[in-house]
Symmetry: C2
Subunit: 864 residues, 2 copies
């Protein structure tokens, strides 16, 4: 009867469910921060969350106060209803307490209400006294149960304080919400819970106009059961409420074993990014506060409540009186945590402008009000603090994927958080050379079985894309020098090295990182002038490549001048589809032959033996040149390049820092090209985008050119955190997550591709917009170039800024490359989300176009 | 009566206590892995840990088995003794079960024993029936309570299986161990618990010689209470047992609220780096396994036990029969987890050699048996797997500080783990430019108030030391170009930049990282030849600096040739103490004037206006040249250098990547020098050594040279993870931790210095050893150069390898710089630990010397 449970089928079903909710919910997140609002958590059931809520309500409303106040008590999820109703408990206890205390509060006046909004049919039937209907109802019904009360002090009069209690959803059975919901056919999605909660919060905290604004309001949202008890959909409550990231108080456990439960619950909340303002628990004579204080250090205050009478007939009035001081202190702690948070949030833009030195940023162009205050991230979204009128938290889709690194959906982020804690606790960081430890080994295995499959046999770890490239260049040059006899020349004659200059073959518009070695491998650009890097010389032969893009709904080819002149008939060739562009049949085309002869010609000038300059490596970003402006290179041209170099024994480096790990819809862009490199560099998405780590993969023959008797022949390049355990742990998790169809629902084609994320019709529509010069949509990338001229074009252009500001208002955070703007999602992002982004973008392009037309007309009329 | 507790005094006392234990314990860690050994954890008290242990014992011993087995049950910490005794429970239940089941096991024969080793005096008195003595006893006494039993099947005979039950420490009160221990004056330090536990494990698992080796043994170590319940010293049990990092099974909670408790307990264990082989709990009809399975995905099996009869008179025999299948499955899961772990550990060195490409490593010189398998790190120590004879885990002090990054003691590591989880859950990674978020802001604030205090006003984040240096160079060159009119020349005439070559002023033997820009700023070395980096040219004026070191117990000055000739009388000047070397009074000395005129002369050749070469920056590692061989530079020389450059408006860069954050006993080495830079680079210890992050700090005037109308004038250098939240979170925690005397007991001198970590007498003794050329001891660094000649000297030398192998056998993991070896501890490491390291080193130097003398004599006699 009892046995090991099968994990697969049911676990999976549940997973999909959770993912769906977390990815699609809350397009209109708006969490008021204008009044203190706290979640009340507990480390287990029946520890007195509702007593704490009641005590806080009393402390807010039943003390002498200069003007009326409001206390808002929300219970989103209630089971065991109507026998159990925490909001009714708060309502009734406070009514009774106010009667008892009113003699000491002469001008006191309190209006209280309790509202049960929605209930399952069994719960509703039970409260309405109806028979359970024969036809089974499913879903939740509006209950509208409402009660109110008024109390006045001996003198009375004046404006009344308010106690507002609300239960959002109620079920009848006194079990965990997920069970009650299932058994009563009343499952409620996480999004619905959050939406109703947000509605209540906004109504009570932001409603009431100017007058309401002045009222002091204190709000608690009481959870059900323990911190990780499932909510009605089955999501753990600590996950369910995460998008709001409200601060919390934790009701701990004063009993035997309670220290452990309290600490573990605290850790589960921290592992989800929550802040806890205080821990409070009932005294059981075990002095549990001492170990808790020791554990918490100075971070969090711990408060102890007197023992609660066990006699069920006790009305607790005496207990509340005895506890008054603790609740007053607790409320003060919460208020102080709230004001600290608010002051800090308001202060941050100014401080940032004073002490940060942001990369790639002209500080003079960033006024304080343009600084984005990021309170947290949740999956693909930033939670952004806004201080206009009422302070609140809103949401912006991270459409720049935080410099192209981001992959996690909310579930992956939660799992990565736990894995990061585990890796830090197990390994911290340990030395890599001559050592082995699990995360580094598993990561290397996954890389070689995945992105290196079929060609790579060694993994060289470093910290970021730039260092991965510098390592790749050193590898390639060593191999080239061996193969072309340069090293034996150097060995024979120490000065020979001075007569050899190794160069790379690379593409105009390419970009490989910001350290000098990586910069030397890119063509001159805004980044490379004397002003930026006096040491840059540009050690490469930089070819101007043919590009492809969509315009007016059609994919087209654009040839550089050199090739255009050679093969004019092919300029502006149109493709029937994007697939055609990648098709291998093109290898046999005239164009392929033209490409080949063009490249051969270019290489000819460096191929003579005994020359000073040698092309020692081909380095390129396969398919898309990222920082260079999101240009899609004709894959045929890149394939031909690889073949030409291979035939001349020039090692081939693919810079997949941007393109790797599904960025372009395949695990590598090499797969899209249909050819393999000798060396490839990965970073960014490799760790899911949570932590820096890079890897340079290489073939055995490359590796072998560093083998010898002496350490001096080894590759003497490394960084402190080479193969660091946390980075490798994140990579192991993310690499698996992205390619597993059970965790990434976008995976199709037997695990080889992502499904199409950008709706084709919308893409075509945008590519036909008059403001748009060209569009590229591939994998997780959607890019467009705004039609612009003169100083409006190029990297330093501010042309797109009004468009970007508007998009941020729509909840889309983008960052431009001059007049090129892009939307980038994660490998797991739902196509529906991408469509929403495109729709919003299109709408804003219309505004943008109008704005510029008007501007132009104005300037014309001024001109005329 | 009940109120907010004061956090400070008592929490602090407790903290010190924990730290002391964790830092000094287990110099002889040796955890047998030759038989499966598991910790039994529970998410709360009274969930049936002992039932699970008993069930596993029955499953091991009371099934038909081909040959005798042994089951070892250890209960390190027992309270409520003698009324409660889990080892007695296992012993008695199993005896009874074996009587019932023996009819089905004809050849069965079982010898059982139960042993209570140590008890508090009240517990001992209670079991021995003595009166409690009038004079209060403190400490624990040997109890030696022992019972045994024998059972045979119907046929009997043959070798007997064995059940060995042991309670290590027992207290009388049925409360949490820390309370019982305190109340019964029987506090036991963590180290003592672990030592006794290890002794029992080794005795039972490794004893018995060759014959014993063949016996199949299964061992469980049952914890007390919940996972985070305090042990006898007050340390949480999940922290107490962490040095062994035994895998575990978690006994969960099947009751209402139990899902939350089980998940939270699981997360607390993961947050301490434990692996959990299975979760098992008693059924309460709530189907808690479903949400648990969903949460755990495929990682961990979940097993459900039938409800335990509540009737206390029930002997549970039927229940154990009913549960048999579950326990058999549980045991299988545990065995399978054990074999997977062992196979992997044994396989790792080979796989590592096949697929890793280690930096700075000649793979041909690293045979499989030389690869270190690191199972985990705990504070300053690696836990290393050894497969010789019996497999076991041993400990090695990470004396290379994992490439000079390490700072955490065990407590900081635990806290960092939780912070890493929190930061990942709250932020993951979010875009930095034009944004602000708490960890980046707080980190920047702490940097400017700390290491940048008094001079820096801006923080530029990057990924590692190399990138921090490249950024620093770009900053310095811009400022220099402005100040010296070079930029206006370039602006007027585009080709002017080609007529200007900016260089650095740097020291011979300096090292600033492995990317090309950082390499260009260092003098030619093993790392810079054509073989390693064909693009290196060495763009600097590299001065040979005077060094200081200890030899024969005395600090001496060594002048480079150029200076030696000038001031021969000062060569081999001796200092009375290390303090004298740093004393500012030396600024007025003749030597200072000599240094100054020497430097002026050198600079003269580049100072002419209109010249091609310009010294655009001074860059140096203050006080110690790290990778260059741990050379201590005469601080007076560096101070003079800074002054000379400042007078010529050459920006000064301090590379504090290695020296920063207490590495040399001060928060910065600049403090030791007594002067400030214009730009400084930090990395390594900044995050405590757990995760990559770097920062380049700069003054306002440097920053202002990048302000203007255009983005093109901004500093266009950045990395994907600039100011990433996790790195900044780690930095915030570590920066505070290291300088707070409450968390770092080494802090003295009003928070400005570390106390002396290396015993002066021992240091002098080593510096007088004939095998030793010179010694440097400063802050956390102890370095020595072995006296060596020819190919035995220098970076590629293998001269030290026998010494290093011996040190690893002593539990010290070092990594040499050729014939220079060093010991490096963390800022919080106890001086006692450092002394142990020095003592071991001295002993091994003796062996080393003998070994080389013999070798020499042999070669002489062969020669003769």
């Amino acid at each position: 009867m009892y046995f090991l449970l099968s994990l697969h089928r049911r676990g999976h079903r549940h997973l999909r469910h959770v993912k769906h909710l977390s990815t699609t919910a809350h397009s209109q997140l708006h969490v008021p921060l204008n009044h203190p609002t706290f979640l009340v958590w507990a480390s287990n059931t029946s520890l007195g969350k509702t007593l704490v809520s009641t005590g806080l309500a009393a402390s807010s409303l039943l003390n002498p106060i200069p003007k009326p106040r409001k206390f808002l008590y929300l219970k989103p999820v209630q089971t065991g209803y109507p026998s159990d109703s925490d909001s009714s408990f708060v309502f009734h206890k406070l009514s009774r307490l106010s009667l008892l205390r009113r003699h000491n509060l002469p001008h006191f006046s309190l209006f209280s209400s309790n509202h049960i909004l929605k209930a399952s049919f069994p719960a509703a039937n039970s409260v309405l006294g109806q028979e359970i209907s024969e036809t089974p109802h499913s879903g939740m019904r509006d209950l509208g149960h409402y009660e109110e009360a008024k109390a006045e002090g001996d003198v009375g009069g004046g404006a009344a304080s308010q106690l507002v209690c609300k239960t959002l959803y109620a079920w009848r059975e006194a079990v965990s919400p997920h069970l009650a919901a299932e058994r009563e056919s009343g499952v409620v999605e996480d999004a619905a819970v959050l939406e109703l909660l947000q509605k209540c919060l906004r109504f009570e905290l932001e409603g009431g106009g100017e007058k309401g604004k002045e009222t002091e309001i204190f709000c608690v949202v009481e959870t059900a059961g323990g911190v990780a008890s499932p909510g009605p959909s089955g999501s753990l409550q600590c996950d369910l409420y995460r998008p709001f990231r409200l601060p919390g108080v934790l009701v701990g456990d004063g009993r035997l074993g309670g220290i452990s439960g309290t600490i573990s619950a605290y850790e589960s909340l921290k592992l989800r990014g929550y802040d806890i303002a205080a821990v409070v628990f009932e005294d059981h004579g075990l002095v549990n506060e001492m170990p808790l204080l020791s554990y918490l250090r100075n971070r969090v205050p711990v408060l102890v409540l007197p023992p609660v009478p066990k006699d069920l007939s006790n009305d607790l009035m005496e207990w509340f009186d005895e506890s008054r001081g603790v609740f007053d202190s607790l409320k003060e702690e919460m208020l102080s945590a709230y004001s600290k948070r608010m002051m800090r949030l308001q202060d941050m833009p100014k401080k940032a402008g004073e002490i940060f030195w942001w990369p790639f940023t002209q500080h003079q162009l960033v006024p304080e009000e343009a600084v984005t205050v990021i309170d947290s991230r949740h999956g693909e979204n930033f939670a952004v603090f806004k201080a206009q009128n009422n302070e609140f938290i809103t949401q912006q889709f991270d459409a720049c994927a935080s410099w192209w690194t981001q992959g996690p959906d909310t579930t992956l982020q939660t799992e990565l958080a736990r894995d990061m804690g585990y890796a830090a606790a197990r390994f911290g960081h340990v030395m890599f050379p001559e050592n082995v430890y699990e995360p580094a080994l598993e990561c290397a295995e996954l890389l070689l079985e995945g992105v290196g499959k079929g060609w790579a046999s060694r993994t060289y770890f470093s910290d970021n894309g730039s260092t991965a490239i510098e390592i790749a260049l050193k590898m390639a040059f060593r191999k080239f020098s061996y193969d072309h006899g340069i090293l034996s020349d150097v060995r024979k004659d120490n000065t020979a090295s001075r007569r050899v200059e190794l160069m790379v073959l690379a593409l105009q518009g390419s970009y490989h990182g910001d350290t000098l070695g990586a910069m030397e491998a890119q063509a001159p650009s805004s980044y490379t002038g004397f002003l930026q890097q006096p040491w840059y010389t540009g050690r490469g032969l930089f070819l101007d490549p043919p590009t492809v893009y969509m315009c007016n709904g059609v994919w087209k080819l654009s040839l550089p001048e050199a090739l255009h002149l050679e093969i004019p008939k092919l300029e502006n060739k149109a493709f029937s589809s994007r697939d055609e562009i990648f098709h291998k049949i093109r290898d046999k085309s005239d164009l392929a032959r033209n490409y080949s002869s063009y490249i051969s010609e270019q290489l000819l000038q460096y191929s003579g033996s005994g020359g000073f300059y040698h092309i020692g490596a081909l380095i390129m970003e396969p398919v898309i040149l990222g920082a260079g402006g999101m240009h899609m290179i004709d894959p045929l041209f890149q394939r031909v390049l690889v073949n030409e170099c291979r035939s001349k024994k020039i090692p081939v480096i693919f810079d997949e820092v941007f393109t790797g790990f599904w960025r372009l819809g395949r695990e590598t862009a090499a797969e899209l090209l249909g050819c393999v490199p000798d060396i490839a560099c990965f970073a960014k998405l490799m760790t899911g985008g949570i932590i820096p780590l890079a890897a340079t993969l290489a073939t055995d023959v490359i590796f072998n050119s560093f083998i010898g008797e002496s350490k001096l022949k080894a590759l003497l390049h490394g960084h402190s955190y080479s193969g660091h355990a946390m980075g490798c742990t994140a990579a192991v998790k993310s690499i698996k997550w992205f390619k597993d169809p059970q965790t990434n629902l976008n995976i199709t084609d037997e695990g080889r591709s992502l499904r199409e994320l950008w709706d084709e019709e919308l893409v075509q529509q945008i590519s036909s917009h008059p403001a748009v010069e060209r569009v590229v949509a591939l994998g997780t990338l959607f890019a467009l170039e705004l039609r612009a001229e003169g100083s409006n074009a190029g990297y330093a252009s501010q042309y797109a800024s009004s468009l970007l500001q508007n998009l941020r208002q729509d909840g889309i955070y983008t960052r431009p490359l001059g007049n090129v703007i892009y939307l980038m999602c994660g490998p797991c992002t739902y196509p529906e989300i991408c469509s929403q982004l495109l729709v919003k973008l299109y709408k804003r392009l219309e505004d943008f176009d109008q704005f510029h037309q008007i501007k132009e007309e104005n300037s014309e009329s001024y001109g005329g």
